[in-house]
């Protein structure tokens, strides 16, 4: 019984770990959606960009005598630059001249472009990412806790609190909320809308870079398609929590992580082996379908009519 409980707690912790990665990525989707009403399908691929930057810069940092995790500074910078560039070059012209649908298609195209570009530049085969951090394992009340896992969760929590403070307390954060709620009124207040959109993309992409660090700490491999499945699940998390709502993305990420982890662990025994853990992704996508049917505005979303 003791080991059963211990295994259960391990699964919860694993769920929280992957859930905090989903949450950080979901934040990027939700912030961008909040401000320009666009699902940035290329957002998942920013994680991939981050992982390649880590792959190539960790050895350099280590050679300079710095800890490997300092590579995150370069990954954050690179991802923010990619995010802002994608917005300026691909989305802004379409947003100003085209329809919502053409912007959405542009986002899908951007995702495919980044994946294929990475495949051309880095090759299709997975490449090992160096060790990012090795935190000693802990033991708490007889339960063994993986140090790296706990650190990953901690980073996720710190990032979420920091973002929440930024959005609630700083002038720039308030400008972001203003533009996201009413762009025209925000302009009348003297807020530069385009600059605010750029900053939103920069922050969302920087969070994707941090997510890539957290992800690669557990699964140290960079591939051109690393971001597609991760991005899709984070997108589900954002919709589940209520797209456009920042706390919703955090909640959705954690829920999707927990569901995935617990499904993998228990679905086989619960269904007598009829449904195996290989179905865990199907169950996560099933959540999306159920949410879209039952409460399309998400857990924290309010049912409001389309703004005219």
């Amino acid at each position: 019984m003791g080991t059963q409980v211990s295994i259960f707690i391990q699964q919860i912790i694993n769920g929280l770990k992957i859930g905090s990665v989903y949450a950080l990525v979901a934040l990027g989707y939700t912030m961008v959606y909040g401000i320009i009403r666009l699902i940035n399908f290329a957002h998942g691929d920013f994680i991939m960009v981050g992982s390649y930057v880590l792959l190539y810069t960790i050895p350099i940092m280590v050679a300079c005598g710095l800890p490997a995790w300092t590579a995150i500074i370069l990954a954050v910078t690179a991802c923010a630059a990619v995010g802002v560039t994608v917005e300026k070059v691909a989305y802004k012209p379409v947003r100003e001249k085209g329809t919502k649908m053409s912007a959405l298609i542009t986002a899908i195209a951007m995702s495919l472009f980044l994946e294929n570009l990475a495949q051309t530049v880095f090759g299709a085969s997975p490449k090992p990412v160096g060790t990012i951090f090795s935190f000693p394992n802990l033991e708490l009340a007889g339960i063994k806790l993986n140090g790296n896992t706990m650190l990953t969760i901690a980073i996720g929590v710190v990032m979420m609190i920091a973002l929440q403070l930024f959005v609630k307390k700083t002038k720039m954060g308030k400008a972001m909320r203003a533009v996201s709620e009413d762009g025209e009124a925000a302009i009348l207040m003297g807020i530069n809308k385009n600059r605010t959109i750029s900053i939103t993309f920069a922050i969302g992409s920087a969070l994707a870079a941090v997510a890539s660090l957290m992800y690669c700490a557990s699964y140290p491999q960079a591939t051109p398609t690393l971001g597609s499945m991760l991005g899709l699940k984070a997108f589900i998390a954002a919709v589940l929590g209520g797209i456009g709502i920042i706390p919703g993305a955090m909640l959705g990420g954690i829920v999707v992580g927990l569901v995935e982890s617990l499904t993998k662990a228990y679905i086989g025994t619960l269904t007598g082996g009829v449904i195996t853990s290989a179905f865990s992704d199907a169950i996560v996508f099933g959540i999306l379908i159920v949410v879209l049917i039952v409460k399309p505005s998400g857990i924290l979303g309010k049912n409001v009519g389309e703004k005219v």
Partner: protein, 234 residues
């Protein structure tokens, strides 16, 4: 102070404003009255740059406003209270007012302005922690006006401040406009409630399907038979 000349504006192939010319002098309350769809809101939107013009000039204190980014207009001392209030519903009353002084950095001055707004609208002070979305229509209108006053504007453009409000609140809103006038703030007022608008204005323009059909002293227009028949319901 504000001088609009031969302004032409179109939405696609629909020509919304034809050769509009109007002036607002320092310290005046000028109203723009007319029926729904006459182009009143379009005129204000074009002045603050939310809508582009085809031709014409908009001069404000010697600056050509057509060359200014819409988000810079407020820095020139011009605030716009949009039609339908457009308060930030998911922000508190206080945060909405803070957004009104977004262009200012002097904390003491922001605080001073906020106290001034709370003096104009004591109801807002009682609700400063409340989300703007939970306010009544009248309170949201007060908030929208208060937010515009937060940047020390020299001129305030107000678009239909009385829309959808109870007669009592309409009176209160117009009383505030009068107080602003007494305090030397210039106001360009767009209203469907012509009677109330003319009562607080120095001068007025009547807009009819995109052209100015009449203009003059507000007191004269109040007595004009055509205005009476078309806009005052008498």
């Amino acid at each position: 102070m504000l001088k609009v000349e031969n302004l032409n504006v179109a939405y696609g192939s629909i020509h919304a404003l034809h050769d509009i010319s109007l002036t607002v002098n320092d310290g005046e309350v000028v109203s723009l009255i007319g029926a729904n769809g006459a182009g009143k809101t379009t005129t204000l939107h074009t002045i603050t740059g939310l809508k582009g013009a085809m031709s014409g000039t908009i001069e404000y204190d010697g600056t050509d406003l057509r060359k200014i980014e819409p988000s810079h207009i407020i820095k020139l001392g011009m605030a716009h209270v949009p039609e339908g209030r457009h308060v930030f519903t998911r922000m508190s009353v206080q945060e909405n007012l803070e957004m009104g002084s977004f262009i200012m950095n002097d904390k003491a001055e922001i605080k001073k302005n906020m106290d001034m707004v709370y003096e104009y609208f004591p109801r807002l002070k009682e609700r400063k922690k409340q989300l703007a979305g939970t306010l009544s229509g009248g309170e949201q209108q007060m908030l929208a006006m208060g937010r515009a006053l937060m940047s020390n504007p020299k001129i305030v453009l107000m678009d239909e401040p009385s829309m959808g409000l109870s007669p009592l609140l309409v009176k209160e809103i117009f009383h505030i406009i009068k107080t602003l006038h007494d305090n030397g703030i210039t106001v360009l007022l767009v209203e469907q409630n012509a009677k109330m608008a003319l009562a607080v204005s120095d001068r007025a323009y009547v807009l009819e399907t995109g052209t100015i059909s009449m203009s003059g002293k507000a007191s004269d227009l109040l007595r004009d038979d055509k205005v009476k028949k078309a806009y005052l319901g008498a």
